[in-house]
Amino acid sequence: MTIPAQRDRVEELTVGKGARLEELVDRESLSQLAKSFAELSGVGMRVFDSDGKLLADASLPVELVTYLTTLKVAKTAVESTVSSVKNLDPGPTGQASIDGVSGGRYRVLALEHDGRRVGRLVLGPYFPPSLKDIPAALIELEPALDLDRARGLLTMAPRVTDESMDRLAQHARAALDVVMFSGLKALLTGSMHLASVRESYRELQSKQDKLQVAYDRLKELDRLKSNFLATVSHELRTPLTSIIGYSEMLLEGIAGEVVGEQREFVTTIREKGEQLLTLIKGLLDLSKLESGTMSLRRGTLDVAPLVKDVAQTMAPHAKKKGIVLQADVEAGLPALWADGERLRQVLLNLIENAIKFTPTAGSVRISAKLASMAAASGADEGGLVLLGAQRTAVEFRVADNGIGIPESERGRVFDAFYQVDSSSTREQGGTGLGLSIVKRLVEGHDGAVRVEANEPQGTVFVVAIPLKRSTLRP
């Protein structure tokens, strides 16, 4: 498992080597703090990190020291003091002092954070009140020293006792400690925020990967199922052709006269065989449609002859059940660019369904007219102005006054194998494949199919086939 960088960061800040001073303090704020300390105490303050880098500088000019830097020998001595102060290690006690050539004293304190030294605090120069006169060493060292002037400047230098300095140093250290603690807290909070987000992202990503695997597997299974259906349907059809063929030959008397009950039985065999064939064809169609291997053979298609033909085909079936089948085609309909055979299958399927669910003495009506349909579905989520553009379509309506479909079921009737009422299925028969095939065929034509209620009773299936194909879908 790879560990994200931010997690490392939190680890480093808490149990690792900790934060550097520079990361814990804001340099600008630190400078202000140092300045405020210097103004309050009259003593300069400088903060160095553990590498000796100056992070904040609030040194106050002490005129005596400034004067000494104008003198040749004393200048070197002052510079040497400054450089030793810079490099002074506060030692195990965490505190050290160093006296300059002017008699000014510097206090160097270790800055500790979480038990580790992260930097140094330098306070000074300050002049202990015990220093009454210019140090003899300085007088000896610098021959060009104007003693009166130096004495005058010494009286103006900041006077702080060592005891006061102890307290000031403690205070400065405590203030810096608070600053560092707040800095670490902010640093950790930020790092934790990032680390948490990354961790959540990682978690989501791993879930997403698992889902993707599952999805790919399902897709593969679905493909296998379709292949299986196609193969099985095909294999089933072959022996069935023989069963139907031989029963037909028997009925035709090729193998001798078939009489009485024999004829009745053979007829049943043939009828049931054909029923089975229809079912298998349906399965085959569905699997072809699902696997996308069914291609439409489109051509110019006149609507009126199509509807008439379908009505004629179904008329005997309707008549047998005592149902009136009406067909009504609007005059002057333009021709469609469609697969006539498939569209015929759609209408036959819908009419057969309508007849099946309509009681004796009811009526089924098929009509075709010019209508308009939305360019694309999905406008509920917005973009209506684009998606809702109307296209001209031929609308086929198959209306019955049968048992109807409850509104809650209307969306699902197009699912494969779905039955509104399983008990009614047994009574009415059917595989639950018809409407699913219808939907796929219609969609293959870039059209749409929907169910509406027929007033006062029954169902209307509405199929809209656009005149022009949308360029959106393949």
């Binding site: 038990g115 603690f181 807290k185």
Partner: protein, 242 residues
């Protein structure tokens, strides 16, 4: 664990785990209160809202053994609320020992179980098993009504592997005992794995007594360890080869 050979410094990470509002932060506050000023740093609480921990609390403790080894203990709490799962996993990362703070109230039994399963799962995510992790269990809030009885806890505790401690963290009772128990187990495990005692000439007993003293305890380690009501304190000790 982080080992700095140059500076002779050992950093150990201890995590207080448990369901929301079981008293993990209160345990740390109690430890912070009793710890000697030189041994304890500031208790850091990251981002709280309504007194609930959002990221973690961190109490840094540091002790020095007579052999000169500096031992830094970083004591963390995890956020108990269920939604902070990813944060818990982050905090648990690299833990050397875990104290599970359970709420003694009978109504919280399920929350305890859920949190414990969460701990197990998160350890597994880090490639660790509960069995490998030094663990003590503390039943907190012993002063409240409708709690699981002492007898019940003692009976179950005796059958279990982990040392079980009873506590009232709000009043600081049982807090040091639990902590010493955890430190003892954690040290034993780390020592068994890295042979720290020999490498650093480290006397664990002396060190533990020192820690107890720095936590304001008059009692010695043995007495503190004996406060547990079950489990074994030596399960993680190295096998003694004859």
């Amino acid at each position: 664990m982080q080992l700095d050979f140059v500076n002779r410094e050992l950093t150990i990470k201890l995590v207080y785990y448990g369901p929301a509002l079981s008293g993990k932060t209160t345990n740390l506050q109690a430890l912070h209160k009793v710890a000697a000023p030189g041994s304890s740093g500031r208790l850091m609480t990251l981002e709280t809202k309504d007194d609930r921990t959002l990221f973690f609390d961190l109490l840094p403790l540091s002790f020095r053994s007579q052999s000169g080894l500096a031992v830094r203990l970083k004591v963390f709490t995890v956020p108990g609320q269920v939604i902070h799962a990813s944060t818990r996993r982050l905090v648990l990362q690299g833990a050397d020992g875990v104290a599970f703070i359970a709420d003694s109230r009978t109504t919280e039994t399920q929350a305890n179980t859920d949190s414990f399963m969460d701990l197990k799962e998160n350890l597994r995510e880090h490639g660790l098993s509960l069995r490998q992790m030094p663990l003590v269990i503390q039943f907190n809030k012993r002063d409240l009504p409708d709690i699981r009885s002492d007898e019940e806890i003692a009976k179950l505790g005796a059958q279990g592997r982990e040392p079980v401690y009873l506590a009232v963290a709000m009043r600081g009772l049982g807090v040091v005992e639990s902590f010493i128990g955890l430190l003892h187990l954690t040290w034993s495990a780390l020592d068994a794995e890295h042979d720290l005692g020999r490498k650093f000439g480290f006397d664990a007993r002396e060190f533990m007594n020192g820690v107890a003293k720095k936590l304001g305890e008059q009692r010695g380690t043995d007495e503190l360890l004996a406060a547990c009501v079950g489990g074994a304190l030596d399960v993680l000790r190295p096998e003694v080869t004859p």
